[in-house]
Amino acid sequence: MKRIEAVNDFVVKFANVNGSGSASANELFAKAILRMGVPVSPRNIFPSNIQGLPTWYEVRVSERGWLGRRGGIDMMVAMNPQTWDADVKEVEPGGYLFYDSTRPLPPSAFRDDLTVIGMPVTAICNATYEDARQRQLFKNIMVLGALSVLMEVDPQAIEKLFGEQYRGKERLLESNIRALHAGRSFAKDHLQAPIGLRVKRADAVGNRIFVDGNAAAALGCVYGGATVCAWYPITPSSSVAETFQKYCEKFRRDPATGESRYAIVQAEDEIASVGMITGAGWNGARAFTATSGPGVSLMTEFIGLAYFAEIPFVIIDVQRGGPSTGMPTRTQQADLVSTAYASHGDTKHPMLLPQDPAECFEFSATALDLAERLQTPVFVMTDLDIGMNQRLCDPFVWDDERRYDRGKVMTAEELEAGREFARYKDVDGDGIPWRTLPGTHPTLGSYFTRGTTRDPQARYSEAGADYVYNVQRLLKKFAFAATLVPQPQVRAASRKTRLGVLYFGSTSPAMDEALVALAQSGIHLDAMRLRAFPFPPSVAEFIEDHDQLFVVEQNRDAQMRTLLVNELEVDPAKLAPVLHYDGTPITARAIAQAITRRVHAFAVAPSKEKSR
């Protein structure tokens, strides 16, 4: 039997029972490898449940730095009898199966093309610990100890992590180290180590940081100057507001008086939370909420009001699987169409599409600027894969010289000097009118904000001409928005090609890897990573410049493709959808296979240059 041999390049998947304390031990495994200078990208695949259902933790180890899901599993740490059959089946031929051998299993439970490693973890724990809780918790640490021997993970890196985790809790620290070494000695005495999958110290992490997208977005809101946050909890977005609160307690308290310089309200529902940020945005604060698809659905009436009345605020949508409650703890990019055109009547909204936590940070701050510049709701569209998983990314960058773009707010001095104020008049030619904030001037600049039609002076009007002027101006503003939002990034293929690919958001790391694999097999594609909606002219040009393009996304209905076809009036035949929507993050292999299949089906000769 040929077994998989790989150093610093493999995928380990842990199959556990939710609520058994496995997540923190698995995270230690990932972080220890990271501390050895080898990039990892872990993904927590968890049920919408507190305890008892199956949960998985997939760790991609890649010295080359591939952070997307690869597809396929090289080693399964199968600790959940409930999912045993499917877990065993998932392992690549020549792979490894680690399991708890306390209870003997029939030979039919195994595969003969796998290296099977049994360790009687439960028996060892029961013999070592009296306490039932300890027996359960230390099982995970013993497994970690055994794996560190099998895969040559530096035990000192793990001990150091323990030390950081249990600083000041010496008893916990000591017992964890004991469990770790108990696991290690068993492996040394009874198992054949090392196996074919090994970790070797490297220097491939660089100055990158390891952080989850929700925390990054929360910090982006702090740096971006958000002072009001109103929210209602929903997976997978809740930790955005929770972390924002933590950061605010740290950074937004007046050092002299101890007074909070921020306001956070957990509202009674999503409708109230968007109502609150509407009021705050109208009254001059930078305000945001964080939610997921079902929350955006509830918010749509207010989103329409804010669009039409031109009120700035930011909504961070951490997308999950829909429709309805759908798959609350699984990832998708399936809110694009419903968000882009959210609300009744003719509405369109800017959406920013971050690829990783670094962009979650950057785009959240940018969204707050854009919302005020454009006087409209701006959405940051992340997803569970980026939001709730820690990801290696570039350190956050913030220029201390950067000033908030508060947009067109007329001051008391300007009004006093006789400057004309007409709330809904396009005076600058960009479709964006000037606004005043409540309380600005005793006699000048007040107006009545309404979602009903009005004339450029904000006076109630049902005249068709006034309505048309207004909605046409909003369209002009939206076109102008395309020039302000983060612009797409293009990566040219190493040779001239007629093929192109469009992708965005959390698909990025898998796409990076797929592009290299495709090029190796002779399929060369120019790649454009979309970073925002509306689409700037460069997107239409990119599509124009290629004969056939793929749009890679994580939803059933090819929603980004729909937006491209609809907004740019592209021939739909030109855009082939590449879709992944089973709730797991998209894999590099799936993208490469789908594109390869399509390229062959089109019968285009990929390596030949286009004759001109």
């Binding site: 939370s273 109502g275 705050a280 305000a287 409540p438 006699t443 007040s446 904000t449 979602g451």
Partner: protein, 165 residues
């Protein structure tokens, strides 16, 4: 007569309040509600109360929902910013506005039209045949010397009493 612009002229001897405004400075546009509508009485009472309480008009923000009651902020305190929000969901907007700026005085106006059975129409005072359930309340910071956040009653009762004198 709502198509006639309201004249800005007023009698030169019109009394000024403690912050230098006449009662006329607290008015808004001409009401477009039915003649005799109770909402207009409320608006008139708000005008009177704000004048008497020496509240600077531009230091008030008026928030309302959708419907007859909610149109009324256009008919009083013309120098204040107002926000006609969405149906039945105004309080959240006011909460957000208050979080953003605690220096202002917030006036919320909500209500609805509730159709009555035909037999009751005859006694209805308004031609639209609707009775209006309304509420007007204030929110302000504790430091402001005007109506307190805890007082959820409309100030109209006191104002009316004063006017009767």
């Amino acid at each position: 007569m709502t198509y006639i612009a309201k004249p800005k002229l007023h009698h030169p001897t019109l009394a000024k309040n403690g912050v230098g405004y006449t009662r006329r400075d607290y008015e808004g546009k001409v009401s477009t509600l039915c003649a005799g509508c109770g909402h207009d009485s409320i608006s008139a009472s708000i005008i009177q109360a704000c004048w008497q309480l020496d509240i600077e008009p531009h230091k008030v923000a008026k928030l309302s929902g959708i419907g007859c009651s909610s149109k009324t902020p256009d008919y009083f305190l013309g120098a204040s910013h107002g926000f006609n929000t969405v149906h039945g969901r105004m309080p959240s907007v006011l909460t957000g506005a208050y979080l953003a700026n605690r220096e202002l005085l917030y006036l919320e106006r909500l209500g609805r039209r509730r159709p009555r059975p035909p037999s009751a129409w005859a006694s209805s005072r308004t031609p639209c045949g609707a009775a209006c359930a309304w509420s007007t309340s204030w929110r302000t910071t504790a430091s402001t010397a005007s109506p307190r956040a805890s007082s959820r009653r409309p100030p109209t009762a006191a104002a009316k009493a004063r006017r009767a004198r």
